[in-house]
């Protein structure tokens, strides 16, 4: 799940530059194409017989199985063939759509993308996504229209250009056998790391998870989420970032390998945790921890740590490229994926364990009872517990300055 969010700005800029040189193309029209307003029956009728190519990060075995065995089967009943294209990085799907858009293609190969954050923002800038279509979906009624996680995707307004699919919560993960008395705040975690030298580290930003950890520490050293303006400005950065870097530089000698080196990715940190070299890891997809414990990658005593002040939360979405010619079919799949039945099936830990985007108060009694009957996990607390006091994500404008500053002030310092 985490690789989904990698920041691909540099690659895209380079790619567009090379494209411009080779084909002498002008920048594509940035205005987002808007879906025509029509009845849902009309959409259903057009969707019948279409094949929808869903490009999604393919590293999650449970996610792949859910889409192939559950979602695709339900889509087939509606006459839509759902075909999953596994990719190592969501940026690849965005690159393909941008190429198609530059070439003016209207029967593109990508019909649906699992996306959020920077990849969504990049696509929006180039008009790569179809907009104003999610209000047509019957099942959107189950979501809260004022839910900040669903109206803004890392500071980029959603504006009906993508339909919500899952929620995620940044979480620290620890081994209760080795940390019997875990801290309950992020400041406490950093203090604990200093008392236990060599037992903690974090992935080096710009790794997505390491970057999220940086923002979480920024909230903590700034005195809480209310002290940090969500929109980035140079003044706010100058004012707030020194405390962040000072704290992390001070912490560095107590980290794994004395902070001389950092894991390059969350996967590397997970491996260190699995091998018992450190006592904590972190993830933006705590739902996967159950599975890692079940298959023995992580020890049985692995637990997700809840913090008193709350942690960063986000949602991920399904977006329809403006170049797709199976847009009706893609809408039908996005609506299906939002249905209470599919959201409940997907929330089961043995299926995928992804948190729902639905607002339980808006559901019928049966559907709500289904969600309430989900089994408790010994490893991962419920979404309600995890997301209590959830912190909003900073806008994407913060991310690169914070990551670059970390490299200058902490890694090189």
């Amino acid at each position: 799940m985490t690789v989904l969010h990698r920041w691909h700005g540099g690659v895209l800029v380079a790619a567009c530059a090379s494209v411009a040189v080779l084909t002498g193309c002008a920048a594509p029209d940035a205005a987002a194409p808007v879906a025509e307003d029509r009845s849902w029956d009309d959409v259903l009728a057009e969707a019948e017989g279409q094949t929808v190519d869903l490009w999604m990060y393919g590293g999650d075995v449970q996610g792949n199985a859910y889409v192939d065995d559950v979602l695709a089967r339900a889509a087939a009943e509606l006459g839509v063939t759902l075909r999953r294209v596994p990719i190592a990085d969501t940026g690849d799907a965005v690159n393909r759509v941008l190429s198609e858009r530059q070439a003016g293609v209207t029967e593109g190969e990508v019909d649906l993308v699992w996306v959020n954050g920077d990849n969504f923002a990049t696509g929006r800038q180039a008009g790569a996504w179809l907009c104003d279509w999610t209000s047509m979906l019957p099942n959107i009624a189950g979501t809260d229209p004022d839910d900040p996680l669903l109206t803004s995707d890392f500071g980029t307004p959603v504006d009906g250009c993508e339909a919500p699919w899952h929620k995620a919560q940044f979480s620290l993960v620890y081994d209760a056998a080795r940390v019997p008395d875990p801290p309950t705040t992020l400041a406490g975690v950093l203090d604990w790391a200093e008392v236990n030298p060599g037992r903690f580290t974090y992935p080096a930003p710009p790794d997505f998870t390491g970057s999220a950890f940086l923002r979480q520490v920024l909230y903590s050293v700034s005195g809480g989420v209310d002290e940090v303006p969500l929109e980035h400005s140079d003044e706010a950065y100058e004012e707030l970032s020194p405390a962040l870097y000072d704290r992390l530089a001070e912490l560095a000698p107590a980290l794994w390998r004395e902070g001389d080196t950092y894991p390059q990715s969350q996967q590397e940190l997970d491996q260190l945790f699995a091998d018992g070299q450190v006592d904590m890891t972190m993830t933006y997809g705590p739902a996967t921890v159950d599975d890692l414990v079940a298959d023995g990658t992580f020890p049985e005593t692995t637990r997700v740590l809840t913090l008193d002040e709350g942690t960063l939360g986000n949602a991920s979405f399904l977006a329809i490229p403006s170049t797709s010619d199976d847009q009706a079919g893609a809408m039908v799949v996005a609506d299906l994926a939002l249905s209470p039945e599919q959201q409940l099936a997907k929330a089961r830990p043995e299926v995928w364990g992804q948190f729902t985007v639905l607002d339980l108060d808006r559901l019928g009694d049966d559907a709500r009872a289904g969600f309430e009957a989900l089994p408790d996990s010994a490893v991962v607390p419920s979404y309600e517990e995890l997301s209590a006091g959830a912190d909003p994500e900073l806008s994407a404008g913060w991310v690169t300055p914070l990551d670059d500053g970390w490299r200058r002030e902490v890694a090189a310092g």
Binding site: V3, A15, V19, T23, R96, Q267, A274, G296, T297
Partner: protein
């Protein structure tokens, strides 16, 4: 047997052994992981053996992906091998004014990063409305031509044209000469060139995904997707072995063609 000869033989045998060991060593953890249900450090060997990796790889569609990879590799080999043979023959015929320059142009795809080529030509191919599969095979064929050209140029440089002329003098038709004299003499080189071209299609990731538009989900796509997460080691190992072993088997077959031809 004299002592220096013995030492040199022993040295050669040791050297060959070390080389084989060096080539096989990376496959050992792959083989172990492929059969491991659980293997966490610091254990030297997996704690639990099983077929989880195999089951996951099959669920991911490894079988169909291997067939697609083979089809793609074959298509590239079928196109790039004759083109490489024609180029190799022309380069050694003495008919070209600047063979060095032509050779450099033919090799130029080797120095271009595939990512840039894929992204750049993607837009062009899309504009020209070239179907994704055709564009994919076309681009990979261009990428394979340097390899087939190098192999066939060396083969033609060592090839004695007089055999062909002799057969013609004895009354064989042009087609008969190609079939009965020319090709059998060049068979090992053709097989080697075709093998390299096959590998270009078999192992490509970025062109298959971006230019191919995700229509052909081949083995490298599955390996890349599975390897981008934690905890998939067994599945990745099975997929990686499925990607490595068929070419190795093919190499053995080609090696036997070469031996038969030399006899």
């Amino acid at each position: 047997m004299s002592a220096p000869l013995l030492v040199s033989r022993l040295g050669s045998r040791l050297g060959r052994g070390a080389l084989a060991f060096w080539l096989v060593l990376p496959l050992v953890p792959l083989l172990l992981w492929a059969a491991a249900d659980r293997w966490s450090a610091p254990a030297l060997l997996p704690q639990a053996w099983g077929t989880t990796g195999l089951a996951e790889a099959r669920a991911a569609g490894a079988g169909a992906a291997a067939v697609r990879s083979a089809v793609l590799g074959t298509a590239v080999a079928v196109l790039a091998t004759p083109l490489g043979a024609l180029a190799g023959r022309a380069l050694t015929s003495g008919a070209l004014r600047a063979p060095g320059l032509v050779f450099a142009v033919l090799l130029s795809p080797l120095v271009l990063p595939p990512f840039a080529v894929a992204l750049g030509l993607d837009v062009l191919l899309l504009r020209l409305r070239v179907p994704a599969e055709v564009g994919l095979v076309l681009l990979l064929t261009v990428a394979a031509i340097p390899y087939t050209t190098v192999v066939m140029r060396a083969a033609y440089a060592a090839h004695d044209r007089h055999h062909d002329e002799e057969a013609r003098l004895l009354g064989a038709s042009a087609w008969r000469v190609v079939r009965s004299v020319h090709l059998p003499l060049l068979a090992p080189a053709v097989a080697g060139a075709a093998f390299l071209a096959f590998l270009v299609g078999w192992s490509d990731y970025v062109v298959t995904l971006l230019v191919g538009g995700g229509r052909l989900v081949t083995l490298p796509l599955l390996v890349g997707a599975a390897a981008s997460a934690t905890g998939n080691d067994a599945q990745v190992a099975v997929l990686a072995l499925s990607a490595v072993l068929p070419p190795v088997a093919l190499l053995v077959v080609i090696g036997s063609i070469g031996r038969r031809a030399r006899r």
